[in-house]
Amino acid sequence: MIRNLWDRWIRFWFEPAEPVNLGICRFVFFGLLFAYYSSYDFSEWARVSTAFWIPKDFFKFFNLPMPSVRIIEWVQMLWKFSLLLSCLGLFTRLSTFLALSVGTYILSYPHNFGATHHYDAMIVLVLGVMAFASSGDAYSLDALIRRSKNPTSGEYTWPIRAVWVIIAVIFFGAGYAKLANSGLAWITSNYMQVILMQQPYHTSAHPPLLLWGVTFAQHPWIYHSFAASAVIIETGYPLVLFNRKARWFFIPGALLFVIGIRVLMGPSFETFLFCHIFWIPWDRVIGRITLIRQGNREKSFVHP
């Protein structure tokens, strides 16, 4: 029994793999983060009145004061630079570790002004994985400089699987909370109608992109379907870890769900979308593209 469990554990986390997938995931993930946060100025928070300052998380735990504008400017510059270096794969160990440590501070900083937002928690957890992963062994400047070929290893498998587990745990947490706090009434009551109707009243960080929510709120079968899909996708998401077929339903479903929330309700979880790039089998994508290119070349050789 224990032996069987150990075997499954090793097989799931440490099955040897080429460094390609992890290298591309690193490049795309940090590139997306850099693009997303490069224009966001955290120092604006240091310019608001101290009356708004209500310390939370580790700011409260360590009794950290509200930082000055200058400190936040330097910290955010360091973080964005570490994201860029991590994307390029230069000094990857150091830059991914900096991205985690400085990122935890700078991302939690706005939470001290009234609300802990959840869209950035997944980012910090993934940064935590990447800080301890050997992600700079392919598709990186480090690999170019070293010019050494890395053999297959479990080191290139566990970080990707860890991100899968992070996404699954987070979706499951949201689904479980709904069922634990409200039961099936979350689906059968008019609550989804209330949610759709209240969003245009600016109850979330961003207004909905389209005002279709209030139209859908007038059709019970639509809002009950939305509620049912939310609970099924969130609670059932962990199935993707064990069942390949389930991935074809839950992963596109979760992506549509996150996009639907942004369009109809407002809350933006783009960062959840970024983390889904770890589901893409990049080596197979590259293999397919190479095959298509070779095919085109052969065609042009035969039919110039």
Partner: protein, 172 residues
């Protein structure tokens, strides 16, 4: 250690370290979820989980009093007027300030800052909002409507604090 037909090409201490980290993450995440606690970045994600079937919505909202006669009051709901806040975060922040004994003083300082930032950004052309002469904090109650006709005129409004600028520096 048990033998398996998978050869991870990793040292046993390294696999142990990684496994311990993964187990720690899974355990702490499930603990947070099942006990509904929040120690960011380990969260339980309880947003929108408790049903509320009534169509009323009560919130703290900042209104701007237009400088131009007849000095109409408009809710400042758009993020560009409140940046770096958004209406949702500001409401939550003000609701927490309301619990402090020094809430009147905190509301005054908060409104002054909102007013100054609004006017400063307006004069720089960052937003296209109208000039304000005053900001007021209300507890408002909306009866949700699908036509949104009451968005700027909620059914109930209770004044909690107000700030009017008499300082020349506020208006520059």
């Amino acid at each position: 250690m048990f033998k398996t037909d998978v050869n991870p090409q990793m040292s046993v201490p390294r696999m142990g370290f990684v496994s311990a980290g993964l187990l720690f993450f899974i355990a702490i995440s499930l603990f947070e979820i099942f006990t509904e606690q929040e120690h960011w970045p380990f969260c339980s994600y309880p947003m929108y989980s408790r049903i509320r079937e009534d169509y009323g919505l009560t919130r703290l909202v900042v209104f701007g009093v237009l400088d131009e006669a007849p000095h109409v009051e408009k809710p400042l709901l758009k993020g560009k007027f409140l940046y770096p806040f958004d209406a949702a975060r500001l409401t939550k922040n003000l609701a927490q300030l309301e619990k402090f004994p020094a809430r009147d003083l905190l509301f005054q300082r908060a409104l002054k800052n909102i007013f100054k930032r609004y006017e400063k950004r307006r004069k720089k052309g960052i937003h296209d909002g109208p000039p304000l002469k005053e900001v007021k904090l209300y507890r408002v109650h909306w009866q949700l409507r699908t036509d949104l006709a009451n968005l700027e005129a909620p059914e109930e409004k209770t004044l909690l604090a107000q700030y009017q600028s008499f300082e020349e520096s506020d208006l520059q």
